[in-house]
Symmetry: C2
Subunit: 256 residues, 2 copies
DNA sequence: TATTTAAATCGGTCATACCATTTCCGCCAC
DNA sequence: GTGGCGGAAATGGTATGACCGATTTAAATA
């Protein structure tokens, strides 16, 4: 029974004034929205900031921890607490999605499908906007793939960098972040299965087809090539896993 | 209910790789992955749980708060801490994305584009998998739109429910969650501008086109119709916002 | 039996102290 | 003068204990 209640938009009560720690979170978020805190900035020491906000240090720490959990702040013992500064594309923490996958029993194929949809979208956008630098990087990574046909681990590095470049070329950082979020969850599995991959040459060829479509500014072809590539990759991985023996590997180390 | 008094909770190893609170997070996450904690379950009281894990209560609270910040746990004063149980589709917290938008200066058009890509993807999948119930719900919502042509607020409710139904029909909960995440950020803006919307009839018609394409099991047409719908919606909203700083003619103008 | 009330439960907050790590500046040797 | 080196200061991490407020539960009363 799928219920489709319309109240999915949890209005977080801007004027909540509920718990004190929530008030702290609101204060800090407000500082970020107003621009008082910019990426890379360092927050005042907890003891001082607590006094400024008129709360105790544990309460302030609770607020800081909440924002740190979602990847906005980062605390380093002895150094201070900083607003996360991402040099490259902004990254969302994937642990929420990972836990949600456990809680609701997401299947790998469902994740693959989500990744496929996202990658197809960014591939299409990349075909419209890729700069010459992006195209050059893609070409280099493909060359790296051909040079690593006998080294699956190294091949995977170039593979990921290629997809990363395509995402960057799409010019949409939101889609890029979401894509990375999903890709991160699938990464562990990929790394395990890629060691016995046997069709690296074909994979490299498909990447080259994606690259050509992007270079020729053909969004539909790029999307389609990406779809074909990922469908094959999924198929390959599933057949690899079928050979394994169905080990319930619940390796859990994703603290990034 | 699962029995939580057994040896499920092993004490934290003295040799903790990272900080103690991170170890607590790992422990809790592991319980969820293993299925010891399932949606709706209630955690032991903090004082007890802290003793079981061999940490102090503040440290345990830090871990709980981190997981609560990403939407996995929820604490209610006086009641206890619970594993979040979502009746409908699982929902990811959108505040991380919202803060990231502030930190990196995401433009509304970038968000619109992300939403468009996600909605196109789910529309295509919905065309492949929508059940008769889904189709019936979509049809009802469209009827509700036509019945609310003179009530923009009500129209928006049916609008959102329609998109929600399409997402549910896609059968991919990850994409649905990501879509909701992005849509939530855009919601506030939409609610403000929809009050002066003037092209509701055309909007309803485009929804109907999406519905028809899904019913006819034509993924490409569904995606395409969704793209057209959202492009028009974006255009309409941008023109609305452009008028905000200028003349205040909020009359029966019917252009667009 | 139903309603009210009181006690137990439990998360939220505060204050304080101490520990672990990092940073930075002054000191000393070269 | 320069460069390494050590220690003090700064700063986040953890622990203990206490009290408050909200919630739940169950007993007591009408």
């Amino acid at each position: 029974m799928t219920d489709l209640n319309s109240d999915i938009f949890k209005t977080i009560d801007p004027e909540h004034r509920g718990t004190t720690s929530e008030e702290v979170i609101s204060q800090l978020r407000e500082m970020i929205h107003r621009g008082d805190l910019r990426p890379g900035d360092r927050l005042p020491p907890e003891r001082d900031l607590a006094k400024m906000l008129g709360v105790s240090r544990p309460t302030l720490r609770a607020g800081i921890r909440s924002l740190a959990a979602v990847g906005v702040l980062q605390s380093r013992q002895g150094a201070g607490t900083f607003v996360v500064k991402s040099d490259g594309p902004p990254s969302l923490d994937s642990s929420p999605l990972r836990l949600m996958a456990s809680l609701h029993g997401f299947t790998p194929s469902e994740m693959f499908e989500a990744r496929q949809s996202l990658e197809m979208a960014v591939a299409g956008l990349a075909a419209e906007r890729a700069t010459s630098e992006h195209l050059a990087t893609m070409s280099e990574e493909i060359a790296g793939m051909y040079a690593s046909l006998d080294d699956p681990e190294q091949f995977l590095v170039h593979d990921m960098r290629f997809h990363q470049t395509v995402a960057a070329a799409s010019g949409n950082r939101i889609l890029t972040s979401l894509m990375n979020m999903v890709a991160t969850i699938l990464f562990d599995v990929r790394r395990k299965t890629v060691k016995r991959a046997r069709d690296l040459k074909e994979s490299a060829e498909m990447h080259r087809q994606i690259y050509r479509s992007i270079r020729e500014r053909n969004p539909e072809a790029a999307s389609s090539a990406m779809r074909a590539h990922l469908m094959l990759a999924q198929k390959a991985q599933e057949s690899e896993e079928a050979e394994d023996g169905a080990a319930a590997t619940t390796s859990d180390n994703g603290s990034q």
